[in-house]
Amino acid sequence: MQPRWGRTVMSTENGTENDFSSIDQLLECAKSCRRNIVKMVHRANAGHPGGSLSAIDILVALYKTRLNVDASNPEDPDRDRFIMSKGHASPAVYSILHEMGYLSSDDLTKYRVMGGVCQGHVDMTWTPGVDFSAGSLGMGLSFGLGTALAASLDGSSRTSFVMLGDGELQEGQVWEAAMAAVHHEVGNLKVFVDRNRIQNDDFCENQMRMFDVADKWAGFGWAVHECDGHDMNAILGAIEWLDSITDGPAVVIAHTIKGKGVSFMEDNPSFHGAAPNDEQLQIALEELK
């Protein structure tokens, strides 16, 4: 499948040279998304900035270079699917859907506002371009397995990408799906784990230690890759790696920083689900210039 935007690193068709202008554009796009994320959460005075900022670089890379989706035809049955299982990271999803032309600036200002399409948690019945109604953790991988199995039954080359939180991995259902995906040898199911090491109450380390996460996926029979989830080159490489795995499910453990890009939110459990105040918003926007 052709990348939809610019060129990816290590692309076999385009040679192995990085196209730095494309990388710069991706980084610029991620910055614009970050600004919208903090603005949305600030305006709503509620929401989840931390896990949105940790995930956004991956979303930008996926939507801008890989996903075969089209804002003018959001219901296309043969589109790739992106399933945001950690549905509280909705500001990240809305910000990239805005960049992709699905949502207007006005839609973003109505995040969490009654009647607006940008609901608190991603919701496929409200928002064009959203493929899965999330909010209850641990469900997205099973859903992604369903959409991947359907693609195989249809003989379609469409791919299902799922993003999971690391705290979310504590839900047993994730591992039920992980086991089933290997049993069914789904080569069209690709997962990113946003390994930001923080969940709701505290660091994962204090809530539920998971030790070697990559090892757990490997133990279930998944192909596993690890990358820096904020290094655009590394993310593009990881996407390419995911596409190279065709005989079964594949997962990328993306090492990220919760709150990435806003100094006082970085690695700070308090900004899992809290909005910046007016003064903090100004600092954040200054840092994201």
Partner: protein
Amino acid sequence: MKLAASRDGYGSALVKLSTDPAVIVVEADLGKSTKSQNFRKLHPERTISLGIAEQNMMLVSAGLATSGYKPFASTFAIFTERAFEQVRNGIARPNIPVHICGSHGGIHTGTDGSSAQSIEDLAIYRSLPNMLVLHPSDFNSTEQLTIQLASTNSPSYTRTARNKTPVIYDEDAASKLELGKGAILSEGEDVAIIACGVMVSRAIEAAEGLSRIGINATVVDMHTIKPLDGKLISALAEKCGCFVTAEDHSIIGGLGGAVAEHLVENCPAPLERVGVSDHFGQSGDGDELLEQFSMGTNHIISAVQRTIQRK
């Protein structure tokens, strides 16, 4: 008027209960939200974190309870439902006294949206044999009733609310509350308004509005949904002859359903149910949503006028 959230009453009760060494708190990464963290701060050694894994939490609690502990397990109301079958088969069926608290119940929860707004928890837990089902209305009643739960020998489900609402009981009034007994907040002969949770303060407001147009309402805080105070309802059928129920919950199966069941079997009387009319919630401000979903004070008043007409 003083405002406080009932979930804070739950946190405060756990702190008061902590002098009992058998009381133990079990969490699933929402201690900051359900307020069990108040207990954790004092007694980390008696607080068990199970990560984001509600199904596991329920049976770990059951194991603790059969070993002499009094577990208080909490998460959002909606996420207790993920473990419904664990509660049914692992807690209610063997009648093990695990005390479950579901916070953030109802659409009043607000901007988080429909995935976080349980509108069916009271209905589903009420359908389980052995379970006590509570939905207190304010900080002090939640604190008081939670403390009473510790000395019961039944499994229980208590729903609390996320947002601040008027404090209805002072500490003295709250100390007179009893599990399983509806609390009469005002007396009148024309209609009985039976409410729970965040709708109780609206029912009181409605009764005040009604009295200005010459309608006298009895208002009951039905903090215990199961066992339902049937004796009180029968007495009110006699005295008032018609009813309105008010709950931040589906009108199917919750308080309205429970009252309807009692009435048709024992003392048929007109009933209008104010609640969520068979649809899911959405994001928005809590109070705004209650208006949007026809659950405001004025909607209770209109329901009263309808039920009186049907007498």
